[in-house]
Symmetry: C2
């Protein structure tokens, strides 16, 4: 079965917002094993929307529309679908009651006589459904979604050919669309497939994208089930491994040997197999497991590394202190970096990076510490110390490791890559320390 | 004239990447005063691409295609356009020489006998151009772009109707597409318009989106030239004011009274009128102008605030020191927050925020300091101190201001809003200090 996406909204055509919905839904359809040939974006205009819908019905089995379900006159997705399918819009009493309850709650603080008048007539438009459609509840807004199943005559040179078409209408705001899709549409779509699709995400860092791909090119090319698809991500490499099977167990059996082979090839470069786990979460989990505390000393990243660590909830017991020592003065004063070191080797040097990590650990009384010093640009580069040169140090239980990195790209890019490499270095140092324990 | 965008690439249909190109080009077309009715995304498939192109030629004057210009067999955009326009592909000698030079440079480190063989046959595909097209140089890659002007017979019920159509082919990677568009396509498109469009971006913070819109709803609704369009941005509100005129001077004359009126209504909530200027740049500029140094003390934001400041190049002379004091212990030890304050009012309190800013300024010897302490969630909230409660303090030349904020959203959102509000508070405190000086 093939799916077509139609995003409705003039704000998309004006470039006011990026169409992340199309990306999200495409990914989900691929995961479900549906083929997607077209993504269409069209404005809040009934003529054009109707035309686009007719084209889609001719060539696709399932059509997912996002946007245009709200209360304003501009919102006309439901009307266009009803027209194309030659159906009426009818009042859905259940939705009507829900809208009433929503506004009663929202206007609770208003005087009684104003509570009802605050519900403008427009809002009742959201209680109208396409005749014969399934109303899909919206937990995060007032506009429900809809599933419409219809026998549609797509016509052809050979005359009539009725086919079952499925049209899914979803609200535009991602905060409403995504939970509705996850909770209510996904089960519906899964039911249409006789196979299930199971994915694992192999997340890799410390190795470049093209090198990573080269290492497993034979697997990527020879595999049909599971498939292996690279996902580019700034500073990291992700591979999605997807198996299609009759059931979960069979899918897991298919995945197992491939995941084992990837582990053989990438070793400790893999930091997780879980799609939702981030690099900082893995690092914080390791610190928790090994009961290690952390201190940080950042120069060119100016707090971004620690900011990433604090992304993870519940780090207050392990994050002792972060120092943002952008100036030489601060490096001397707070971290105890020696003046001779700065004079002899400069602020961006292996030696300074080393003293930053050691100093941060010592002063904060932490088991581990990360130091970052580099030239993020655009100014400050020289022939021997070019823009992009960054030293990353990690102190872990008495041992210090320093990595010299040469990053390409602008200021933002250099700092971003520094943060990822620092997270990776900390991860590896903790793992190595543990290996020695055994 | 109306424009249609066609994004070519199976990776878009699989959801591997977000279509930021469509967003960028839509915005540019809107700025140029072109109307855009459709954005289409289609895979690397010649049949479907050809069909989509034919539809576009029937309904649009200018068609911009991105993607599918590379050297691989999957890349077939040029071939499809040539077919639809019934033109040949011919060798472009200039491009051929450039590809040769590119690889000579790239393979410089290889033995002489291998330099040429490294240019695979595929690469010469990029030297083929559509007959009669303008080749557009690519400063950031090997695949050039193309402009094709054609008299196209879109056909109709009333028979033939030849029209001038313009097809623009651009590479897919944004790093190649954007510079090519800015430097070479923009001048071409501007030339097609008899009017020029001039925009100013009014950037506002410290006031919510819906409130801001309400304040100028009369202007938005009554204005045709200039137009005022809101641009949603996390934690800030931007309005783009665009005038269409015969020339720059006339456009400026049209913009002036509207910008003055917006300034009347929003006052110091406006932090810039420049599209490219960010909030942190404005803050750093103010610090530079007033010759003030800065220290920071962050708890729940864990370095993100200082990270934003360090986004701006050349802050090493004014950023004295940043303290990331996530734990109570660190707040006592490094910032001199009093134990009684923490015991009596808690770490998330006006009093603690105040002492954090004062402590950071004093210890670092800075003229200004910002303190941030709050509950970012998802855990740690109570009835009296719910998730989203954040205290932001600013010390400026002896005076301390503390703001109590209640943010909605997840951990990420709360921290992001905290950073923006802290930047805004610092900006206002510096401005007020200056007013007193006068």
């Amino acid at each position: 079965m093939n799916v077509e996406l139609i995003s409705v909204g003039t704000e998309l055509l004006l470039g006011n917002i990026v169409n992340t919905n199309a990306n999200y839904l495409s990914r989900k359809c691929a995961d479900l094993g549906f083929t997607l040939y077209y993504q269409i974006t069209v404005g809040d205009n009934e003529t054009r929307l109707t035309k686009v819908l007719e084209d889609a019905l001719k060539r696709s089995d399932i059509i997912i529309l996002t946007g245009g379900l709200g209360p304003t006159e501009d919102d006309m997705t439901k009307e266009a679908v009803a027209r194309v399918l030659d159906r009426k819009l009818v009042m859905d009493e259940e939705t009507r009651e829900k809208i009433k309850a929503y506004f009663a709650f929202k206007n609770n603080n208003l005087p009684k006589d104003r509570q009802d008048s605050e519900i403008t007539i427009n809002n009742w438009k959201q209680a109208m459904k396409i005749e014969g459609s399934i109303v899909v509840e919206n937990d995060n807004g007032t506009a429900p979604g809809y599933i419409v199943e219809a026998e549609y005559d797509a016509g052809s040179a050979n005359g009539s050919r009725k086919q079952t078409k499925r049209i899914i209408l979803l609200p535009g705001p991602p905060g409403e669309m995504i939970p509705m899709f996850e909770n209510r549409i996904l089960p519906y779509l899964k039911n249409l497939q006789d196979r299930i699709f199971l994915s694992k995400m192999v997340k890799i860092c410390g190795i470049g994208e093209s090198k990573a791909e080269t290492l497993i090119l034979d697997l990527i090319n020879s595999q049909n089930n599971p498939t292996i698809a690279p996902y580019a991500k700034s500073g990291e490499v992700h591979f999605r491994v997807t198996a299609a099977a009759k059931n979960r167990e069979e899918a897991n059996q298919l995945l197992k040997p491939i995941l084992r082979e990837l582990e053989n090839r990438f070793g400790s470069n893999i930091y997780t197999f879980e799609e939702k786990e981030t690099l900082e979460e893995v690092v914080v989990k390791l610190l928790h497991q090994k009961k290690l505390t952390l201190a940080t000393a950042e120069s060119c990243t100016g707090g971004l590394f620690t900011g990433r660590i604090v992304n993870v909830s519940g780090v207050s017991d392990l994050l002792k202190e972060g120092f943002i020592t952008y100036s030489n003065e601060a490096k001397l004063k707070y971290l105890g970096v020696k003046k001779e070191t700065l004079d002899q080797f400069g602020a961006v040097s292996e030696q300074t990076a080393r003293e930053m990590a050691v100093g941060a650990a010592k002063i904060a009384g932490a088991d581990t510490a990360v130091g970052i010093t580099g030239i993020a640009g655009p100014d400050g580069g020289t022939a021997t110390k070019p823009v992009g040169l960054v030293y990353i140090s990690c102190y872990c239980n008495g041992k210090v490791t320093v990595r010299e990195c040469r990053f390409r790209g602008d200021r933002q890019k250099v700092r971003e890559q520094s943060v990822i490499h620092a997270l990776d270095l900390l991860r590896r140092c903790i793992l190595e320390e543990t290996e020695i324990d055994h």
